[in-house]
């Protein structure tokens, strides 16, 4: 039979290539993304540290330095606590991203394993069906032998 002439779709090969590259790159991006996030969080932390250092000012107003020292101490304590909280939050965020990635990987592995087990289970069932089919054929043969003897 003559095959119908269908022209090759223009640009299809390049599109296929692009699509595959997007899948290939996505696997490599996870680590890169994590280090980018870590770098950004470190940057935030260092900016907060700079704010704390900048708050160490002296007062030009008479009698103002005691109030300012008090204010500065309060501000420092407040910023220190905030900084610690941000630092803890940073750590938790990075950890939770790590755990999420690990969870994704575990789910993916689990799915693969489940698929493998399902496939192997199906093969086993098909084998049972095969065996039953053979048994059925044998029984039918026996039955027809018995009938012919009767």
């Amino acid at each position: 039979m003559e095959a119908p002439q269908v022209p090759n779709p223009i640009g299809a090969d390049a599109q296929y290539d692009l699509l595959f590259r997007s899948y290939l790159n996505s696997g490599e991006k996870t680590g890169e993304l994590l280090s980018q996030i870590e770098a950004q969080l470190t940057e935030i932390q260092s900016q907060l540290t700079r704010v704390r250092i900048a708050s160490a000012t002296t007062s030009r107003f008479p009698g103002g330095s005691i109030a300012h020292r008090l204010f500065r101490r309060l501000l420092r304590r407040h910023l220190g606590e905030s900084l610690e909280a941000v630092s803890r939050a940073n750590h938790l965020t990075v950890e939770s991203i790590r755990l999420t990635v690990k969870l994704w990987e575990d789910i993916y592995r689990h799915e693969i394993e489940m698929e493998r087990r399902t496939r192997s289970g199906m093969l086993d069932r098909l084998a049972v069906v095969d065996a039953m089919q053979i048994q059925l054929e044998l029984l039918e043969e026996d039955l027809s032998d018995l009938r012919s003897k009767d």
């Binding site: 039979m1 095959a3 299809a12 090969d13 296929y16 595959f20 290939l24 490599e28 095969d130």
Partner: protein, 356 residues
Amino acid sequence: MPIHQVVVGAAVGDAITSMALNIRDVLCVSGESKIFAVFPDSSVLDEVHPIHELSDEDDSKTLIYHSSYGVRELTARLVCWKGDLVLQYHNVTPDHFFEDIDSEFAEGLRWGKKELEVLRPKVVKAFADSTFNASDLLIRGYQDVEVLPTGVDSQKLVDLAPDIRIANYYRHLFPNGYVIAVSQLLPHKRMELAVAAVHQVRELWGIDLGLVIVGIERSGTYSGAVRAYAERLLGGGFRMTGRLNDRQLSTLLRHATMYLGMSEHEGLSIPLIDSMALGVPAIVRNVGAVAETCGDGAVLVEHSAGASEIAKTIADIARDTSIRTALIGRGFERAKSFEKNLILNQFSDALSKVLK
């Protein structure tokens, strides 16, 4: 005279291991013969010995070294070997294919090529699987390289009884047939081309063929991408089986509509030989030793061919019974030239001449 063999890696279903086992069966006739491996898989430990069991007392004996990858410690041992050294070259994959995914492995490949030069003064006889592989040795100063795919057995899968369970399962899964691609899952094997081509065969040419990818997944990144890509393009129309034993592979090949070989680099394609021997029409890219392996027993597409051209070739063959029949006949004939005993006899003759 005892002759031992050394391979780098050994596993069930591995082509070089199978070849070494076939050679051993011949060598055993004239004396003790063992196979040693640097990285033996637990599945072959009853047949293959770890390299540390190769004792210094043996070092006056002849050693056949199957070269495919470089391990510096092994090279050092081979250089110091007092007995005759015979080289069976199976090709070392160019390292640039692995540079981005496994730089350590790429380093081993680079050393594998370098090792050929280091060992050259020691080698009393060199064999290569193909003319393509022989050219690798010739440019490294080897002379009198004999082209012989020693240990290849085109009938290996032919005599195996099919696994009915697998046959039924795939018949049920792909009632209109499937295209099969057999290879380790590595970037240079270009499995994504097979996925894209089958997608186009289904969507553009309206032929409902499935795709079965058989082979060990050596790179998680690459095989993950191929799986996701195939899920997107083919949905349930594909399966990735992982490594199979000979009987399972024989069953899947025998029932396939077509074999696809999309690799960027081949020193000698054993799955192609198996397909031809089993009467499966094959479409392969013209790279490395593929053309000399298949002769006129398969359809060659140009190395530059994209998914669209490959899809059209698949569609042409799937629709035209006369092309398919002719291909099957030519494939059978071509596979006969890889008859195990014929090649092993030539190997024994060549070996006895140099080891007199």
